[in-house]
Assembly symmetry: C2
């Protein structure tokens, strides 16, 4: 059995994702789709709308065969580290290919871009430095440096979010000597960050979340943009846990931590740079919401995403010593769920897996997974009152989701 | 000018406290009353009903002349450390006497008891050890040991809460070579922990708080048990901050800290004994309220009060290294407020004060006061929404309360 891998967040799974899965099968010729999916906190430094268990289930009902969790240490990270963890998981799971969505849609352009940047690395680094010195954020500086060297725009546009991630997947695969072949599918209609619905059936996850929260959780309005399984999954989640997760629910906890943490302890938190701590503290006392807090701490030097990630790390009390600060490989495959087909694949590939497969967290395995457990408990605190217990206990009690 | 000192929590100030202040003046012959009062968290490991500022104001309107804050490092402590800090502040403020309420009411009995215990120290320690080994809490073991040696009950009954504190004041004064003369006033009518109103005008603070919370904050029902100034003060506080402080408001924050703190970090918290951390963690996940949580962690070995104090320290993230674990003297006099008479006293005794007088926290003084500042910020988080900011900023902005 052949498998192709996808790297996803599914927040939530929508029609565009379903299209991507179809295309992935078609282009790669694989019978099995393995998704590596961020856990409860996402790359942009946000809590996921619904838990990783529900998101895994929605993915399995809509075409994925196996869902592994991308551990917290890779998920809540800048693109290169995120990519390194995800690629290593797909590689370890035995995927023969990796298929990603991008604005570019041309694998050849990605290869050319990588070669070009390798050749012009010195000039590129020099340009990056110039823009950093001018006070721009690192992502902005790299994107500007790239534009300086590629003014004609013949290469992949590395200011686009999916192109950036795709480029990092390629770099990680190269660096890890992966045997996977990479494919890219052009993203249809909706831009990654679009806040408006783009067509009658395709909308970005951002616009779907916006609609869910603006309508006060009335989810009927998004029904046309998601598979029926997502619609039903969101309904169930809302019924079981009273609503969806968003940053504002965690704001009292973030503020609580900020107002009484010693500045020197704040400095130990991953992605907290020297000097940010006093800014964070005084903003926390002033702000009346997470949105207001973010607006107060935002500067040209740091992207919104970067600052949100720092906030997640403060929330989960994740210190610099606990996180890789450079691209690394994952250490385990945490199985969130599988389809019948996925089970067949795992049965036949059991002995080929290059990392330990964890299908339920035992106290034995807990050490390795400490960050994921901690993140899940903090995530559960976003749920009102007593229902958080069910969610916290899932971390240990929940066997992999099975979907026929 | 002569001053007598009182050691108080005023949670809230009631008619029994007013009676005590009158008696203190009468017995001591002093013109000035200096109160040293716990800050926002109290000796029993609870948040005060209203902030230290409001409580200082209520005390000044009802007969106290000067109110100093008993720093967090002494206030949220077992009786002997609590007493050592309080006595050292009154001594440093130049009090010629100290007047405390007790169930006993006889200073001679206190002196006899201290002599008796000094003489029989070896036997006493032996009895304490026996009861500790049998699994009793430390306060219970000391009270039982005392009973073993004093079966006839001729000495002070050291199982009574005010007698215990009074006994510790005497010990601290002796140990610190204090020149203060000690007086005791027999407590009228209401037992310290009584939950029922005891008479038409005297009720314990416990019963008053119970009434305030059971009537959903309707404060009319307690009017007859408190001076009008307390009644008005409570009304104002409720209007300004939306209600009173109680443990349940802090429960989400305590739980948040417990569910994601590493056990080894929990062990660094003051008053957390080895072995308690796992008990606390699993209770936090199970419990739906602070009350439930406390019931789950309570054992014969630890008193309710002791466990509540540990919870306050977890909430404020106060580590073993930050707290004195034996009786010590205070390092500053933090002035919360004064009457006209109190101002006159301070003006004439300025040069006699044996500790630095802090009348407003500046960034200069902040280091010394770090625990108090931290505790005040955490305390403010018990207030709904944006109003906590006002309370947090008071710590730096509030000049001493002046009452004519």
């Amino acid at each position: 059995m052949n498998a192709t891998g996808v790297i996803v967040e599914y927040n939530p799974f929508h029609n565009g994702h379903a299209f991507h899965l179809e295309q992935a099968k078609k282009i790669s010729g694989a019978e099995t789709i393995i998704a590596v999916m961020s856990g409860n906190f996402l790359q942009r430094g946000e809590p996921a709308l619904v838990s990783k268990w529900k998101r895994a289930e929605m993915a399995l009902r809509a075409g994925a065969d196996i869902v592994f969790e991308l551990p917290y240490q890779f998920a809540v990270q800048q693109a290169d580290i995120f990519a390194s963890g995800a690629v290593s998981i797909l590689e370890a799971a035995g995927c023969s290919s990796l298929c990603f969505g991008s604005e570019s849609g041309s694998m050849q352009s990605f290869h050319q871009t990588l070669s070009f940047l390798e050749e012009h690395n010195a000039a590129y680094q020099e340009r990056v430095r110039v823009h950093l010195d001018a006070g721009f954020s690192y992502p902005k500086a790299t994107s500007m440096a790239f534009l300086d060297l590629n003014p004609e725009g013949e290469l992949v546009d590395l200011s686009k979010p999916n192109n950036i991630l795709g480029f990092q997947y390629l770099k990680s695969a190269r660096r890890q000597f992966s045997s996977m072949e990479l494919f890219t599918v052009e993203r249809k209609s909706a831009g990654y960050h679009d806040e408006q619905f783009a067509s009658d059936s395709i909308a970005s996850a951002t616009s779907i979340r916006k609609a869910l929260f603006s309508k006060n959780g009335e989810i009927e309005c998004i029904r046309q943009y998601v598979p029926e399984s997502t619609y039903q999954g969101l309904l169930q989640y809302k019924k079981e846990f009273g609503g969806f997760h968003q940053w504002e629910q965690y704001w009292p906890f973030l503020k609580f931590r900020l107002v009484h943490l010693q500045p020197e302890k704040l400095r130990d938190i991953y992605e907290m740079e020297e000097g940010l701590e006093h800014r964070f503290l005084s903003a926390a006392i002033q702000a009346e919401s997470f949105q207001q807090f973010m607006e107060k701490i935002k500067t040209k030097r740091y992207t919104w995403t970067r600052l949100q990630r720092a906030c997640v790390h403060i929330l989960t009390n994740t210190e610099k010593t606990e996180m890789p600060n450079k691209p690394l490989k994952a250490e385990y495959l945490h199985l969130l769920g599988m389809s019948k087909n996925g089970r067949k694949y795992l049965n036949s590939h059991k002995s080929d897996l290059k990392l330990p497969l964890i299908s339920r967290i035992s106290s034995h395995a807990a050490h390795q997974l400490q960050l994921d457990i901690k993140a899940s408990r903090v995530y559960a605190m976003g749920i009102d009152g007593a229902r958080d217990r069910t969610l916290m206990q899932k971390e240990f009690n929940q066997p992999p989701i099975m979907v026929d």
